[in-house]
């Protein structure tokens, strides 16, 4: 018997989830997927992350490998243009016919653009696909101001994107308040004032009548009473189901759009189903991903024979951070039950508003609105979803933190409690996965999908994990190595608090054995971060890793490369000449680095002091290319020369490089400063990236290049010089204090519970009360900076180690070079063997 043909039209988040659910079950379909876009499904929920660094790959949900692995025919760039229901044949946009037994519509929705004259002008965009984002970015490059039309959830997300692009951002909303669906009037007003304080101008109760040529900006939006000029317009006025295909073939659709489905997600044609945003269930469509995922799961189960898998509606609660403002909406946020009671707190000074909607008897929580502080969201949601009995005084659930706040510990939750609503993961599911060996958040995410969509339940998942591990008596080993039963963070604190100045002292007090090549450099780095002693001091020299050991970078043949510091990449011709002369004198292979410096290769260990004597005499300093420490601060020429620059990026880069030079850290640190939003210094690929704005500086953190490239994320906007430096001081010191050994800032950030928001809280809001301390510690490192090479060449004891042999001054005869393109390079093994001595080049 040939397989039944299943066509899935649409490869968005829900269409993809349907396929994933299906392949997990035993099915007998030949599956064909139509994907209208040029790439498989990606995460639209996280779309705004694209502007703060995530790439299309980061957002990807589907992959060609997935389709291949499961024998799914994946048709990219192809839509379905018509369905012949009698013949059960669909016609693709490339003209081919596709017979089907079962057809699933997962066509999603399209952004609604209000019928306004001029809405099709240049630089007027919608916000739905990665292509849209690319177009927005392109328009933004020639824009100063951007307006989002629509002040709902998506509109505010889009506003964040415009702000991240450095535009003067405005939001225009037709309704009298923001997020009219999720918030009540007070909540909307609170959100408005918070967002306004962040520099986004909010206009409510304004209907755009037309868009025409502006005088100062590209466009002019004309309202009933006044007008607003802008360079870029982003429509985010809601979405509409993409039901045209269903309409065309006569399937029942709702009055206001949407393909009518029953609990089985079946349309009026029994062979055709609809899931996700295109489906209209009990006269409502769902614009959130969680209900779509639920439909996908239920439909897959049904098609595989589970007739009991029915879609029974979905919870529309949501928690998110819009432009940095926490917003939560649970259940019947605006009331709506026949009889209900309300209790609320409103604190205009801190910008916090919390409202509870209670059942008539006050025993059940029907809904809630949270603005400015969503820390109670998880608890409140559990009360609503699981219909738990409320405490006697429900207001205590949202009262400002005090000792007697009733705690709903995760232990109190039943196993059926839904923890992750996006993926319908219960506490029982999570505990099961933990028992099966998932003992980290990462493993749990992968196994159960909990917290893998919106991430809102991350804290709760972590709590369940911790509690369950404790219950099951599982211990996790975070020991640095066999010599120290501590994490790097633990050791850092021991060193700092007990004023420990040497490895021997630390090992005696807190370790065992002799140490190894893991703990010795790690402790050396901690000691250097804390006390900034000379790294080649006899107490420390035996701890230094390969490169720190001789203050140069070891190459494959045992020779070293030398990188003098060139702050900000700015160098005078005279100094450039010195580098050329030194390279010539010692016959060093010369290459420009990616960090705007010059790398001189092929120095034998015994040549290093002489090379550095020449360099130090000419005013060069160590570039610390060998250390887990600040490398370079790359810069563009900025406002001094560039027609587009808005700040002096070179001066800032030099200042920062000189401020943090020599700072030892858990891993290498790279920074960059760009003088405008064009970002020529590639600051968004650095641990610390700074991009000039008209008002000051935008600070990006936790990016990196290398094997797993990672875009930095916007940390704070429009900072003045002092605030910028203060934040960087705190950020770096907090990283140094708490990161694991060899952990780049990006991985560190990912492992911080609470992620970027937590980091912002610590650094910007000083939530741990350690900001002053961090700054003092940083200042102490800065004040004790000494160029390690200057110090070394003046220290006869330190120089003894650079002798080629203890008992012989002849250099290593096995370091042999050949010439290539006018410079030397290490001879390969075959060249060493084959060539006779006369073609080999001995460096003297």
């Amino acid at each position: 018997m040939s397989k039944r043909q299943l066509l899935v039209i649409g490869n968005g988040m829900v269409g993809q989830r349907f396929l994933e659910e299906l392949v997990d079950l035993e099915h007998d379909f030949q599956v064909t997927v139509f994907c209208e876009e040029s790439r498989p499904a990606y995460d639209r929920v996280q779309l705004s992350a694209w502007f703060s660094g995530a790439t299309a790959e980061d957002l990807a949900l589907g992959s060609v490998e997935f389709f291949e692995q499961h024998g799914i025919r994946f048709l990219c760039d192809e839509a379905v243009v018509s369905i012949d229901r009698d013949a059960r044949v669909a016609t693709g946009s490339k003209g081919s016919s596709f017979p089907y037994d079962v057809l699933v519509l997962a066509t999603g929705s399209y952004p609604f653009v209000p019928p306004i004259a001029g809405s099709d002008r240049d630089a007027c965009h919608v916000y739905r696909t990665i292509e849209d984002l690319e177009a927005i970015r392109a328009s933004a490059a020639s824009s100063r101001r951007g307006v989002v039309i629509g002040g709902g959830l998506l509109g505010l997300e889009a506003a964040k994107a415009l702000k991240d692009l450095g535009l003067d951002t405005h939001v225009v909303e037709f309704a009298p308040r923001l997020m009219a669906v999720q918030l009540d009037a007070t909540g909307g007003e609170m959100l408005r004032s918070k967002i306004s304080a962040l520099g986004v101008t909010v206009h409510t109760g304004k209907a755009t009548q037309r868009i025409e040529d502006g005088s100062k900006h590209r466009h002019r939006l004309v309202f009933a009473e006044d007008e607003l000029e802008t360079d870029l317009v982003l429509f985010s006025a809601g979405i509409r189901p993409r039901d045209q295909l269903a309409r065309d073939c006569g399937i029942e659709v709702g009055e206001r759009g949407g393909v009518v489905v029953d609990d089985q997600c079946r349309t009026s044609d029994p062979a055709i189903f609809a899931i996700g945003e295109v489906a209209l269930w009990q006269n409502r469509t769902y614009g959130l991903v969680a209900p779509g995922y639920d439909m996908a799961r239920k439909l897959a189960a049904q098609l595989c024979g589970d007739t009991g898998a029915l879609f029974t509606g979905a919870d529309m609660s949501t928690k998110l951070k819009l432009l940095g403002v926490e917003v939560g909406s649970i259940g019947m946020a605006q009331g709506g039950a026949p009889d209900y009671r309300v209790c609320a707190i409103e604190d205009a000074s801190s910008g916090v508003y919390k409202k509870l909607v209670l059942s008539e008897d006050g025993k059940r929580l029907l809904g809630a609105v949270l603005v400015g502080d969503t820390s109670d969201y998880d608890t409140l949601l559990q009360y609503t979803l699981n219909a738990l009995d409320l405490p006697e005084s429900p207001i205590s659930l949202i009262a400002p933190a005090s000792g007697d706040k009733p705690m709903l510990g995760v232990d109190a939750l039943p196993a059926t409690a839904q923890i992750c609503s996006c993926n319908n993961v219960s506490k029982g599911d999570i505990c099961g996965a933990i028992s099966a060996g998932c003992t980290t958040i990462g493993a749990l995410k992968k196994d159960t999908r909990a917290s893998s969509t919106c991430g809102g339940c991350a804290t709760l998942v972590k709590q369940v994990l911790d509690a369950e591990l404790k219950t099951q008596g599982i211990e996790i080993n975070n020991d640095l190595c066999e010599h120290f039963a501590y994490t790097r963070q633990g050791l850092y604190h021991l060193v700092r608090v007990n004023s420990i100045r040497s490895f021997a002292e630390l090992l005696t007090l807190y370790g065992r054995g002799k140490g190894c090549e893991i703990c010795k450099p790690a402790v050396a780095s901690i000691l250097a971060s804390c006390w900034n002693d000379y790294v080649l001091d006899p107490r420390h020299v035996g701890l230094q890793d390969t490169n720190d050991n001789f203050l140069a970078n070891l190459q494959k043949d045992g020779s070293y490369s030398v990188v003098p510091r060139v702050p900000g990449g700015e160098i005078t011709p005279d100094k450039l000449l010195v580098l050329a002369q030194v390279a010539q004198k010692y016959d060093l292979y010369t290459k420009i680095t990616g960090g705007q410096r010059i790398d001189l290769f092929g120095a034998r260990v015994d040549q290093l002091p002489a090379i550095w004597r020449d360099l130090v005499d000419a005013g060069f300093e160590s570039g610390h290319a060998y250390g887990k420490s600040l490398r370079t601060v790359k810069s563009c020429v900025g406002s001094s020369w560039c027609r587009y620059g808005v700040q002096d990026s070179v001066s800032m880069a030099i200042y920062i490089e000189e401020r943090y030079r020599g700072l030892r850290s858990p891993h290498k640190l790279k920074m960059a400063v760009s003088g405008c939003t064009r970002e020529c210094a590639e600051a968004q690929s650095k641990d610390v990236g700074i991009i000039a704005t008209e008002q000051g500086w935008n600070l990006y953190v936790c990016g990196n290049g290398g094997m797993r490239p990672r875009h930095a994320e916007l940390f704070a906007s429009d900072l003045d010089d002092q605030t910028l430096i203060r934040y960087i001081d705190r950020f770096l010191m907090f990283y140094i204090q708490t990161a694991d050994r060899l952990q780049r800032t990006s991985v560190w950030r990912d492992n911080l519970e609470g992620g970027l928001a937590y980091l912002q809280d610590v650094v910007i809001n000083d939530s741990l009360g350690i900001a002053d301390e961090l700054e003092v510690q940083m200042q102490s490192v800065i004040d004790t900076y000494v160029c390690e090479w200057k110090r070394t060449i003046e220290d006869p004891e330190a120089l003894k180690r650079f002798r080629p042999f203890l008992n012989d001054d002849q250099p290593d005869e096995q370091i042999i070079y050949v010439r290539e393109r006018g410079q030397k390079r290490p001879a390969r093994a075959d060249e060493k063997l084959e060539k006779s001595a006369d073609v080999l080049l001995e460096t003297v």
């Binding site: 035996g542 045992g558 042999f805 008992n807 290593d812 093994a829």
Partner: protein
């Protein structure tokens, strides 16, 4: 046959900084000498994995009770007493006897320990 007649003086103990190694040349051969809390040790200076003369610049320590030096190039561990590579028994470096007399260090570069 144990040959102990080729002891060569290579310098003073104090020329070696505790916890570090240094290269010496004995009859044209490059040897790494390490000073640890457990005494002095000598191995070939040549790292068989990188073919570079660098073992003297490795970090010393102990792994599961064995005194080792970690190659600074690719970080394999070599036993300071035997020269065995902990990660790969196909590779071994030569170890050499070391002796201290009156504060002077002597290494025997004979092929056998």
């Amino acid at each position: 046959m144990k040959n102990t007649s080729q002891w060569v003086e290579i310098g003073a103990v104090d020329d070696l900084i505790p916890g570090t190694g240094a290269a010496v040349r004995i009859q044209g051969k490059q040897i790494a000498v390490f000073r640890t809390d457990d005494g002095l040790f000598a191995l070939d200076n040549r790292d068989p994995f990188s073919d570079a003369n660098v073992l003297s610049r490795g970090l010393t320590g102990d792994i599961a009770g064995r005194l080792v030096v970690a190659s600074p190039v690719y970080k394999q561990h070599f036993c300071l007493r035997t020269g065995e590579c902990l990660e790969d028994d196909q590779h071994k470096v030569q170890s050499y006897p070391v002796d201290i007399r009156d504060g002077r260090v002597f290494v025997s570069a004979s092929e056998e320990v």
